[in-house]
């Protein structure tokens, strides 16, 4: 499959703090790559660099044939890479209706934004037409995330960066949103950069997994092999912390590294 996005030796510093250091990875057309790590691992920074909210201090980001890292993006590039932010409480502008939130990228890019188009986008995320006129405060967390996904779909993107799209949701709602995302990916051929702290989730959402630890890429591979044969001790520790529901799953978890080592990470 053709490479859609390629990141090479990507680095980001904030003053003396190194948030990302020498990250290289690629995402193919229609592929879902999960980026896993704890808070402070740099996973959110990576997402922000890819969507262009910030510029890297080192390395390159290539989208198709264009180098994005150190210049403003073209309209076409902006349309192609979209974001679904994390917190369902702040993902939508509370002073606009759900429909007006979804219409924003259409307005910005001068695309058709009639009611029919909005209804079509809402339909893609399984929301009925009546939700178009609701305000975010009238929606549940899961519904808000669906609206945020509809907004990301509005410009017909090729890559969506999903920043912990389900981490604030209940497991039942999370499962539904995850299935919706998977269906959209298959129907529309969009690639995902799926940022999450929950290693258990990657099986449901990604073909490949990148594990970040303190700004560095420590492991990258197909989901199945990373989960079953984790190479890096940090990946093993993440796995050991997954809360599972039965014995068979428990046996898939590696032994937990000793508490001393765990404690050190927090210091």
């Amino acid at each position: 499959m053709a490479e859609l996005l390629a990141v090479r030796d990507l680095g980001k510093r904030y003053g003396r703090v190194v948030a990302l250091d020498g990250i290289s990875l690629g995402i193919a057309e229609g592929e879902s790559l999960a980026v896993v790590g704890q808070s402070g691992s740099g996973k959110t920074t990576l997402g922000r660099l890819v969507v262009g909210l910030e510029r890297p201090t080192a390395g390159s980001i290539r989208y198709r044939d264009g180098e994005l890292a150190h210049r403003s993006r073209t309209r076409a590039e902006r349309k192609a890479i979209q974001l679904v932010p994390q917190d369902p409480l702040s993902t939508l502008n509370p002073s606009r209706t759900a429909g007006a939130n979804v219409a924003l990228p259409l307005v910005v890019h001068g695309l058709p934004r009639g009611r029919a188009r909005l209804v079509e986008l809402f339909d893609k995320v399984d929301l009925a037409e009546r939700f178009v006129d609701r305000f975010p405060s009238e929606l549940s967390g899961g519904q808000r995330q669906r609206v945020a996904i509809a907004r990301a779909l509005a410009t017909g993107p090729r890559l969506i960066v999903l920043d912990e799209p389900t981490s604030a949701l209940d497991v039942l709602v999370q499962a539904r949103v995850v299935r919706l995302l998977e269906r959209l990916r298959q129907d529309l051929g969009i690639a995902y950069l799926f940022i999450t702290h929950d290693l258990a989730l990657v099986n449901s959402v990604a073909n490949r997994v990148a594990v970040l630890y303190r700004g560095r890429l420590v492991e990258l591979g197909p989901t199945d092999s990373v989960l079953r044969k984790p190479q890096h001790p940090y990946t093993r520790r993440l796995l050991s912390n997954v809360a599972v529901v039965d014995e068979a799953e428990e046996r898939l978890k590696p032994a937990r590294p000793d508490d001393e080592a765990v404690d050190q990470e927090f210091a």
Partner: protein
């Protein structure tokens, strides 16, 4: 230690009333680890708040909440809440007051105010350099540290009951696990009763001996955790179970 019988919570909002908890019975014995599981909107958080006497002004509760034999709806929470019964909240950062040092916040609620005891308490929640943390303001702490400080605040007066409302859910699996381990140790070593409020059955399995499954204000299933997870009898429990992400394959809830 804690006995809830026939608890009803009603919320009035914009002229309508909603029964969010409907005739709930639940008990947690000394040293017991009990989980109350359900989705948001199931009434589990309102149950926790009713137990602690922290319902919002638009809500009212009837029924009985007995703590160590005392009916709290009659006797009130004075002298109990914050000392003999405490709560751990969802978001560590918003539960700590940003303008006071950790030490001052702990002192403000602690019965014993010796610095050495506060330091020992922080050590007991796996904080390695308690002196530095005591001197810190909340914003100087990482999320994991803040969560541990919050746990310490809940433990400082050696309560007999701790209600933990989804501790650190959206943060980090490791901090979450650690919080639960510390609570479990407390239950085992000090005989503290712990009620965990969560939506995640994986956490229930890792933590609780007894589980109550709550839906739309009612308990739909209850029993020993192992038994319920192995052979859930209610459809809702099964769907909750199925929606937990699997290491071995996609969830199908």
């Amino acid at each position: 230690m804690l006995n809830v019988a026939g608890l009803e919570v009603v919320i009035r909002r914009r002229g309508t009333t909603a029964r969010v908890v409907r005739g709930l019975d639940l008990s947690v014995g000394a040293g017991q680890r009990v989980a109350l599981v359900g989705e948001s909107g199931s009434g589990k958080s309102m149950t926790a708040r009713a137990i602690m006497g922290l319902l919002p002004p638009t809500a009212s509760a009837t029924g009985h909440v007995r703590f160590d034999g005392t009916d709290l709806f009659e006797a009130g929470w004075a002298g109990l809440r914050g000392s003999r019964m405490t709560m751990v909240f969802q978001d560590p950062m918003s539960a700590l007051n940003p303008v006071f040092r950790v030490e001052d916040q702990l002192r403000a609620i602690a019965r014993s105010r010796e610095r050495s005891r506060l330091a020992a308490l922080l050590e007991s929640v796996a904080i390695r350099d308690p002196e530095r943390v005591l001197r810190s303001y909340p914003f100087q702490l990482s999320g994991g540290m803040a969560q541990r400080v919050l746990l310490a605040a809940a433990l400082v007066n050696e309560p007999e009951l701790i209600v933990a409302d989804e501790p650190a859910t959206a943060l980090d699996a490791e901090i979450q696990q650690l919080s639960l381990e510390l609570l479990a140790r407390r239950a085992r070593d000090e005989g503290t009763a712990v009620l965990l409020i969560t939506h995640h059955l994986g956490l229930v399995r890792a933590f609780a001996e007894q589980v109550y499954v709550m839906r739309e204000g009612e308990i739909v299933e209850r029993g020993p955790t192992r038994q319920i997870l192995r052979a859930p009898s209610h459809e809702y429990t099964r769907s909750l179970l199925a929606s937990v992400p699997r290491l071995s394959g996609a969830a199908d809830g």
